[in-house]
Each structure stands twice: as C-alpha cells, then as structure tokens.
C-alpha cells in the first residue's frame, strides 16, 4: 500500500493536467492506467462506473477525477484530485490569456495549434478504445455502443436521451 495516497493523487493528476490536450476525453486512458493498473486504486468495473456517473452529472466531464479521488481517500481525496487536475492548467490559462492576443497571427502559434489536433484525436480514440474494453463485456453492450455511435454521428440528439436509453437497456437486464 502507498503511504500517502493524497500525495500520489495530487502528483499524478497535476502532471496529467498538463498533458491532456483535448480535455477530459483525452485523459481517460492515462487515468485508467494509473487508477486501475499502476496504483490499483479501483477495479476496471469501478472505473467504468465512475466514467458513467461523471457523464450523467452536470458540469465538465473532468469531474471523474473527483469520483476517483473520493474512492481513494474520501472527501480529502476528492478535493485534492480535483484541485490537482484543474490547478496547473488554470494557472497556465491565466498566464497565457494575457499574452495570447499578441500572437494571434504568429506562425508558431498556428503550427502548434494545428500540430496538436492529430495528437488529441489519437488520444480521444484511445479513450474510446479503453472504455469499450471496460464496457463492452458482452454482445449486447457492444451493440448498444455501436448503435449509439451511429445515432450520435448522424444526428444532433441531446446526449441525455442516449444515456437514458443506455441506462434502461442496462436495467432491462440484457447486459
């Protein structure tokens, strides 16, 4: 067991906060790797459940770190994990916001901006992969995932309806 879970929560999420280009969705595989595999804070199932709870909760999806933090170390863990995930990037945002306008047309800025797009695409695709492996443990779950992907790609339906249908399918006992 780790002597100080609060310290590792803070260290991992503060670091992750600075590498998660593409936001919460891009950070899922690294959270999963740390929470389930490296630190063994939670099971695969508990991680997938936390993801689901964060999805159906109002507010930014990054709130999944609050759930992980609570699971590891109660209220203090929830507070530490959330502060670590938001702190470094908020400070960076505050500093950069003041100088940003000056570099609006700068070539390096445009290069960084378009260079990071494929990286975050790959990371978000990895998130989908990691989640599918946790969630789609039988054929029916995989079918729900596939149908949802098609419906969400083709329409602009409110995600809440999608979650409601998914939850009902789960309740019906097919999964």
């Amino acid at each position: 067991m780790n002597a100080s879970p609060l310290l590792s929560l803070f260290g991992y999420f503060a670091l992750l906060s600075l590498f998660a280009v593409g936001g919460a969705n891009a950070a899922i595989p690294e959270m999963h790797r740390i929470a389930v595999e490296v630190m063994q804070w939670m099971t695969d199932r508990q991680f997938a459940d936390s993801f689901a709870i964060a999805q159906v909760s109002p507010g930014p999806n990054i709130i999944i770190v609050t759930l992980i933090g609570y699971h590891v170390a109660g209220l203090a863990g929830a507070a530490v994990a959330t502060a670590a995930m938001c702190g470094p990037t908020c400070i960076l945002a505050f500093v950069v916001a003041r100088t940003w306008d000056r570099f609006k047309e700068a070539r390096w800025r445009i290069a960084i901006q378009s260079g990071l797009v494929p990286v975050s695409l790959g990371l978000i695709a990895a998130s989908a992969f990691v989640l599918a492996r946790s969630a789609d443990h039988n054929v029916f779950a995989a079918i729900i995932t596939a149908i949802t992907a098609l419906v969400a790609y083709a329409t602009r339906i409110n995600p809440l309806w999608i979650f409601a249908v998914g939850g009902l399918m789960g309740l019906s006992g097919w999964l």
Binding site: L18, F19, A20, G23, N25, R33, Q46, A48, D49, F51, A52, I53, A54, Q55, V56, S57, P58, G59, P60, N61, T66, L67, A78, T82, T89, C90, L92, A93, F94, A97, A111, G115, V117, P118, V119, G122, L123, I124, A125, A126, A128, F129, V130, L131, A135, A141, I144, A146, I147, T148, A149, L150, A152, P159, F163, G166, M169, G170, L171, L175
Partner: protein, 189 residues
C-alpha cells in the same frame, strides 16, 4: 428569454463579478455532456458579453491549452473582464455545483455501488457513452483524414497505438509525438 441572432451582438456589455459567478453556475448545471454549447448561448446570445468571433478566439485558446477545455475557458473569460478575481469567480461558478453533486453521488456509490440494479444501469450508460465518444472521434477524424496535411493521420494513429495498445504513459507519448507533429505543421505552412 429567446436566444437572439448573431447580427444583434453589436452592443457588448461588461459583467460584474456576481453576474460572472451566476452565469457560470448556470452553464455548469445545464451543461450535461459538455458545457460548451451552453457557455456560448449564455455569453454570446443572451448576455452579449462577447461577439461570436471573440468567443471563438477565446475558445480556440482554451482548446490549445492542456486540461479540460471548459475549465480553461472559464479562466480565460473571467480574467478578461476582471483579472484574477474574475478568473477565480468564473472557475468557482463552473466547478462548485458539479463538485457538490458529484461528491454526493460518490458517497452514494460507495454505499450502494454493489447493488445489482444500479450496476446494470451504469453499465448501460457506459456502453452508450462509449458510443458517443466514438462518434466524437469520427467527427474529428473526418476532416483530418480527408485533407489537411499528409502526416496528420499517421500522428493520430501513432498516438492511439502508443496509449491504447502499448499502454505507454501519456506524458511519454505526448513528448514523443507533439514536437514532431508541430514541426511538420510548421514546415507545411
């Protein structure tokens, strides 16, 4: 209150700190599955604190920075009107209510998470949310694989393989790929 058109966004107003706080509270509690569309509606259409162009510019910055986009956006937006206090107030408005709600859910989950029905419902939601994420990937990938610059798909695939298949730590994959990707984008332009 009806959402107004873009054309009427000429008279830009300045929010007070308490207006800023309340606006981000509302954005955060109405933003199921991503708060961004709500932020745009509130800031550009209803309150007219920014024009659509200013909003896009501030949001581009928030996406460019690492970490959660809408959290970055609250800081960028708040600091623009009232420096550090503005950033703090907008961030507190955005994160406060979800933090309370999710902490309550975490307590309930710790207590009742083992109940069969609840875990079935959650697996259904996860399966659906995964599909939603696949749709996001498909929408992002479509323009990238169609035109842009030739190396982009390879970089995206390399990032995917490194993180999902080889399960390397994200900072390594990022440190390996981001400089290459940015350099290639630089040379292309």
């Amino acid at each position: 209150m009806s959402a107004s058109s873009h054309a009427a966004a000429s008279s830009i107003k300045r929010p007070s700190l308490s207006e800023l706080f309340r606006a981000f509270v509302i954005v955060s509690i109405s933003g199921f599955g991503g708060a961004l569309p709500w932020a745009r509606r509130m800031i550009v259409d209803q309150k007219r604190w920014m024009t659509a162009d200013e909003f896009n510019e501030a949001f581009a910055l928030s996406q460019f920075l690492p970490g959660p986009n809408v959290v970055n956006f609250s800081v960028v937006f708040g600091s623009r009107f009232a420096r550090a206090p503005g950033a703090a107030v907008a961030l507190a408005g955005l994160m406060g209510p979800p933090l309370i709600i999710v902490t309550i859910l975490a307590i309930l989950y710790a207590r009742f998470g083992d109940i069969e029905i609840l875990s079935r419902i959650l697996s259904g939601i996860t399966a659906a949310a995964t599909g939603l994420l696949i749709a996001v990937v498909a929408k992002m990938a479509a323009p990238l694989f169609r035109k842009r610059w030739d190396w982009a798909p390879l970089i995206a695939i390399a990032a995917f393989v490194g993180v999902a298949i080889l399960q390397w730590p994200l900072p390594w994959v990022f440190a390996g790929l981001a400089p290459i990707s940015v350099a290639l984008a630089w040379m292309k332009r």
